[in-house]
């Protein structure tokens, strides 16, 4: 039946190899797919906007929260840094039971004796090597007068090294000198706050102020400190007023005496305190925390009551750094959760988009799109969504800390890493949460997809 002679004319036509088009990365292709993605995002404006919002909020929250917590920790650490990282601070504290007994007693008030003594300081100096300097201070609360103007303030009798030990600078004039110290001279350095109250108009330098019945020459003015360095438990003063003035230690001792008397709610109260505070400067920062512990032990042995407080700024700084890290991890985790929620939003929308565009997927497959073309298309769309969201989020995330700083005066620090990190995470989320919907799109049966209404 089969005739061999008929065979050659009716043969199958020979085809060249079909062009293998999808080898390697093709920029034009990528550009086209991106354009299609942008078009499809654009054609669902509101839906895309709401989807993107999740990522925007997530990224902005990550950056803003990190900036605020970074700023807060910087502020906290700055406070301790101002106290001097190689300082150990000692303060006299009125012990609780002494206060009780003085209240219950009858008759004339008796002087309460408590606090740090010169002997304590000498012992510390002699038993611990590596102590550079000790700046001891007496703090007495007095009314300071300039003619009719007066202010009730802490008069700090201290040594010439006080400003340098506290990173505390002069605004004008000078601090008192060694020779004035030796001479028990009547010289005074005002804090910025006190100078403003007593000399609202004229320059206080070269003028005099009156404390009790003595006149003191104003030789310098400190710059504004903003807050009290020694915190709330100021020895010798009930509140932590930043208004303080400085006179030579020797002058304080000879003018005001060892025992000070002051008015309290219960009547008169006298107390004898040799030293109200002492700053012990250590050579280098390495041993500061250990030296602090040793000093504490020495003082425990020498004092019956706990009438002193010891503060090691470096230890506090370390604590602040630790808690700052903890805060940042918590803040980052909370913000990260919102990014995750944003990512789930993207996945949700991409899945809806895949279902909605089943027909389109079928058409594209029929017209020659490979699985990976479909995956690419939806993945690029997801990445565009999250990328745009990420960019808006970065802008907002940088703007929000600025607004917080401007309106609430909080310190905020946007580290360059935070926006980069947040944006990368958002793009990554686009990929991660885009993969599943894209694969689902690509795995559709072309026949089924074309039949989809």
């Amino acid at each position: 039946m089969t005739d061999v002679t008929l065979d050659p004319p009716s043969s199958r036509i020979r085809l060249g190899k079909a062009p293998s088009s999808n080898s390697g990365f093709n920029f034009i292709r990528f550009k086209k797919i991106t354009q299609v993605g942008i078009k499809s995002i654009y054609s669902h404006g509101l839906r895309s906007l709401l989807t993107v919002l999740g990522i925007v909020i997530g990224v902005a929250a990550v950056i803003a929260m990190l900036a605020v917590s970074e700023g807060a920790s910087f502020e906290a650490q700055q406070q301790f840094r101002d106290l001097g990282a190689n300082n150990i601070l000692l303060k006299s504290v009125k012990p609780a039971e002494v206060e009780e007994s003085s209240r219950s007693g009858f008759g004339p008030p008796q002087a309460i004796i408590y606090g740090l003594t010169n002997a304590d300081i000498d012992t510390i100096r002699n038993s611990i090597p590596g102590i550079n300097n000790v700046i001891a201070s007496r703090i007495v609360k007095k009314n300071v007068w300039n003619n009719g103007l007066n202010i009730n303030t802490d008069v700090v009798g201290t040594s010439v090294d006080y400003p340098s030990s506290r990173n505390y600078n002069l605004r004008s004039g000078r601090f008192f000198s060694e020779s004035e110290m030796r001479d028990h001279a009547n010289v005074v350095v005002l804090s910025d706050e006190v100078a403003n109250v007593l000399f609202p108009i004229d320059n206080p330098l070269g003028k005099t102020v009156k404390i009790d019945s003595d006149y003191y020459n104003v030789v310098g003015i400190m710059e504004s400190e903003g807050y009290s360095n020694l915190g709330q438990n100021q020895a010798g003063s009930s509140n932590a007023a930043p208004s303080r003035i400085f006179i030579p230690f020797t002058s304080s001792k000879s003018r005001f005496g060892e025992t000070t008397t002051r008015q309290t709610a219960g009547g008169m109260e006298s107390e004898t305190v040799e030293l109200h505070e002492a700053i012990i400067q250590i050579e280098g920062q390495d041993g500061v925390i250990e030296v602090g512990e040793i000093i504490d032990q020495i003082l425990q042995r020498r004092h019956k009551d706990i009438d002193y407080a010891i503060e090691v700024p470096l230890a506090l700084l370390r604590q602040a750094e630790e808690s700052a890290l903890r805060d940042q991890i918590v803040a980052g985790a909370i913000a990260g959760i919102s990014l995750l929620v944003g990512g789930i939003g993207i996945m949700n929308i991409m899945l809806a988009s895949v279902t909605e565009r089943t027909r389109e997927i079928g058409i594209r497959r029929a017209l020659g799109a490979k699985r990976r073309d479909i995956i690419m298309q939806f993945l690029i769309e997801a990445v565009i969504l999250s990328g745009v969201g990420g960019l808006i989020g970065v802008v907002l995330g940088i703007a929000i800390p600025f607004i917080i700083s401007a309106f609430w005066g909080m310190t905020t620090i946007v580290t360059p890493l935070a926006p980069v990190l947040a944006f990368s995470i958002s793009a990554l989320i686009g990929v991660i949460f885009g993969i599943y919907p894209s694969i689902r799109a690509a795995d559709m049966d072309p026949v089924e997809a074309l039949r989809h209404e």
Binding site: P19, K32, L367, G368, R371, V447, L450
Partner: protein, 250 residues
């Protein structure tokens, strides 16, 4: 063995064409298709062998459920036969991987659907360009080809319109232009006038006649005798088998 089998099929089914010495663009060799639904299996095609020649204008007809759609999906490489071989040119597609099938569809076949199946977000030109895009044509080339085809189907003044701005007849003309973009071996049309009024339908059929005159190979699935009247060869299916295969004697 199968080769000789196919030759036998060729000479017995379309003797006239074979004698005229035309070359075969596609051949189906004992195609069977079984669908599995759980434990149940249904064989829809029971062994179909057909050869299609260059320049053929074929109508595939038959009642609902005869296997037309299944056969069309296999011809379009959208579905694989369970048994048998399907040659497109000299390439056997029945064992091809998904990626190869995509390439074959894109490079060798042109699809025209009943419901046009244009992509709504894209304009006329972009719709026509789409198969070229997946074949990796350069932007300049695909633009030129698509503009030429838009002119050929009389829509060169509407290239930047979106599908919803066009009438059904115009949309189907876009689909035809899209099917022609890669200059395919075979154009497959599934009820191409099913959604059109008679005037638009006639326009589409006139276009098909033109394509036939230019030597294109057209395979059309239809219910309508009126539509089938225009073609040169009629394949009737019944219950998954070829019932008749006739050729116009011209």
């Amino acid at each position: 063995m199968l080769e000789s089998n196919s030759e036998t099929a060729t000479s017995s089914t379309a003797v006239a064409a074979a004698v005229s010495g035309q070359s075969i663009v596609a051949s189906l060799v004992d195609i069977r298709k079984t669908y599995y639904m759980g434990a149940l299996s249904v064989e829809v095609l029971h062994g179909i062998s057909l050869d299609f020649y260059r320049g053929d204008y074929i109508s595939i007809m038959g009642p609902s459920g005869c296997g037309k759609s299944t056969l069309m999906n296999i011809l379009g490489c959208l579905d694989q036969p369970t048994e048998g071989k399907y040659y497109l040119g000299d390439e056997d597609t029945s064992q091809m991987e998904d990626d190869e099938l995509s390439t074959i569809r894109g490079a060798r076949l042109g699809f025209i659907f009943q419901s046009y199946n244009l992509i709504q977000q894209l304009n006329v030109l972009e719709n026509i360009e789409m198969p070229l895009f997946y074949q990796g044509y350069s932007e300049a080339d695909s633009h030129e080809i698509a503009m030429g085809l838009a002119a050929r189907v009389g829509l060169d003044d509407r290239v930047d319109h979106k599908p919803f701005e066009l009438s059904g007849g115009q949309q189907q003309r876009v689909a035809i232009a899209r099917a022609l973009a890669v200059d395919p071996l075979i154009i497959l049309a599934d009820e191409p006038t099913g959604n059109l009024d008679s005037k638009s339908g006639a326009e589409i059929l006139n276009l098909f006649d033109e394509l036939h005159d230019q030597g294109k190979t057209l395979i059309m699935v239809t219910h309508s005798d009126e539509l089938a009247e225009r073609s040169q060869r009629w394949v009737r299916l019944r219950d998954g088998l070829v019932e008749s295969d006739d050729r116009r004697n011209a």
